[in-house]
């Protein structure tokens, strides 16, 4: 049951952010496919790179042999 609630909450937050980032809009979706509007590209790259940066920047100093 808990896992279902997590799914629902994650979905609500995700939907909220998609709408705020305007990436659900027809103009943005088709704009991305027609290479006219990079909003979705910015959104997606940011969503991937940001957690990557957070996770690496906090551990990179602990790597053995890192100058």
């Amino acid at each position: 049951m808990n896992i279902l609630i997590y799914g629902f909450i994650a979905g609500i937050l995700f939907g909220f952010l998609l709408q705020r980032g305007q990436v659900l809009r027809y103009e943005k979706q088709l704009g991305a496919l027609r290479l006219l509007d990079m909003t979705i590209v910015k959104f997606m790259l940011s969503s991937i790179l940001w957690p990557w940066w957070v996770s690496t920047s906090s551990t990179i100093w602990a790597w053995p042999g890192f100058p």
């Binding site: 979905g11 952010l17 959104f43 940011s46």
Partner: protein, 132 residues
């Protein structure tokens, strides 16, 4: 409330928050974001109402039991969250024929809906072909 239409949040900010949400979801529930399996499951549920014997005998449905799971509620949540977000920030706007479409193909709603439906079929076929 001020009309924030066509403004929204900076996509870099919304994307970054989404990234943190994805990490949090995997951390808390071990689930990665996905959507298309839920459409298949919903189709299965509808089909189960019409012809349960056929559904029970199909190998795919035996492997992927039609049931309400994490992802199904995730997809439902997206609808709810997006609607709440649009209402809160006053950028909810039903649009039968988008201006970009109208400029190229005219104001015919039937044509627009038919192409949107066909596009949905192609998109879903592709998503399932690629495994989600």
């Amino acid at each position: 409330m001020v009309n924030t239409f066509e403004k929204g949040w900076n996509p870099y900010l919304a994307g970054a928050l989404t990234g943190l949400l994805m990490v949090g979801s995997v951390w808390l529930s071990g689930k990665f974001f996905g959507a298309s399996t839920s459409f298949v499951r919903t189709a299965n549920m509808v089909e189960s109402l019409v012809d349960p014997e056929r559904v029970a005998s199909m190998a795919y449905f035996v492997r992927n039991v039609p049931k309400i799971d994490w992802q199904w509620l995730f997809v439902l949540g997206i609808l709810v969250g997006a609607f709440v977000s649009a209402k809160l920030f006053a950028d909810f706007r039903p649009e039968a024929v988008p201006p970009m479409w109208e400029a190229r193909f005219g104001p015919d709603r039937v044509k627009r809906n038919a192409v949107a439906f066909a596009g949905g079929v192609v998109a879903m076929f592709g998503a399932r072909l690629a495994g989600g």
